[in-house]
């Protein structure tokens, strides 16, 4: 499963906000950290806000705050907002040749495993993994 740029940015943003619960984090800070344009990030954050994953506060001291349950929200929940996960299977089923269909079956199997993996990892679990990765860093 290849994730689009927006999806990756959404995941980075969610983890950034979730690591600082209750805190309003300016979008500009996240944009700068990940080298993205503020305009681009704003679109992603707007989608996350619509889904109730983040809250936004305007004005001085404003920014975005994580608003979901980190022990329930999974990576797949975030990915679904930006990716059409059901698109690959019908295309494979309509493939012209037996080779196409067989190959489509294999690719669908891979996608199923990828989705199950993303769906099994909550934001809280991911933050724990980030901590451990940071502790291992030289």
């Amino acid at each position: 499963m290849k994730l689009q740029k927006n999806t990756e940015l959404a995941l980075y943003s969610v983890l950034e906000f979730a690591a600082r619960p209750g805190e309003h984090v300016p979008a500009a800070e996240v944009a700068a950290k990940y080298g993205e344009s503020l305009h681009h990030l704003a679109k992603v954050l707007s989608e996350l806000a619509r889904a109730g994953i983040v809250d936004s506060v305007r004005g001085v001291g404003g920014g975005y705050r994580f608003a979901a349950n980190p022990r329930r929200l999974t990576l797949l929940d975030v990915i679904r907002l930006f990716e059409d996960l059901g698109a690959a299977a019908p295309a494979a089923a309509e493939a012209a040749t037996p080779v196409d269909r067989a190959l489509g079956q294999v690719l669908a199997e891979i996608d199923q495993i990828a989705q199950a993996t993303f769906g099994s990892i909550t934001v809280a679990t991911m933050l724990g993994m980030v901590d451990r990765a940071a502790a291992r860093a030289p």
Partner: protein
């Protein structure tokens, strides 16, 4: 088996204000081997979660894992105030397809009313300790890929995709082969 379980993590202290919190302190939950007298509660708990009342099945499981475990098969219950909050069953399996002895967890249920109280965490820790006692160094389980709650629970305990890949084949007259 299907149950919703709490998810733990090193960032548990980062819970949002107002987010779900454990309803009781951990120390009140005790994990011990199942007893005959626990079975009615275990059967009822399983029926609550699966919708199936399987008394005969649980009697067989009790005989094999509850009293006949010989240190390699474990049927544990988590109790609080004399009430069964959950259970876990596991066993040591060795040399399946060349795999050294490993600890298999193949059943877990937690009373839906006891979620978010680390019951699953306590059960898994107790099971792990028993496996480690006999030299087991790998813990395994297998779940349906759409069982997001249990998958995320085991993930929260540090489990990751392993070396083995489950495969299956539909057989019989309806298999389409």
């Amino acid at each position: 088996m299907d149950s919703k379980l709490p998810q733990e993590g090193r960032r548990a202290a980062r819970r949002l204000p107002g987010a779900e919190r454990p309803a009781a302190v951990d120390e009140e939950v005790q994990v011990r081997p199942v007893r005959q007298a626990d079975l009615p509660e275990v059967i009822a708990l399983d029926a609550t979660v699966t919708g199936l009342h399987k008394a005969d099945y649980w009697q067989r499981v009790y005989r094999r894992y509850g009293i006949g475990g010989q240190g390699l098969r474990h049927f544990l219950v988590a109790v609080q105030g004399g009430r069964v909050l959950g259970f876990m069953i596991g066993e040591v399996r060795d040399w399946e397809f060349g795999s050294p002895p490993c600890g298999w967890v193949f059943a877990i249920d937690v009373d839906p009313r006891a979620r978010q109280r680390r019951v699953g965490t306590h059960l898994l820790a107790a099971m792990r300790e028993r496996f480690e006692r006999v030299g087991v160094r790998v813990l395994r389980t297998m779940l349906a890929s759409d069982n997001q709650l249990l998958l995320s629970f085991f993930r929260s305990q540090g489990m990751t995709a392993g070396r083995l890949i489950p495969l299956e084949l539909a057989i019989g007259p309806q298999s389409g082969e």
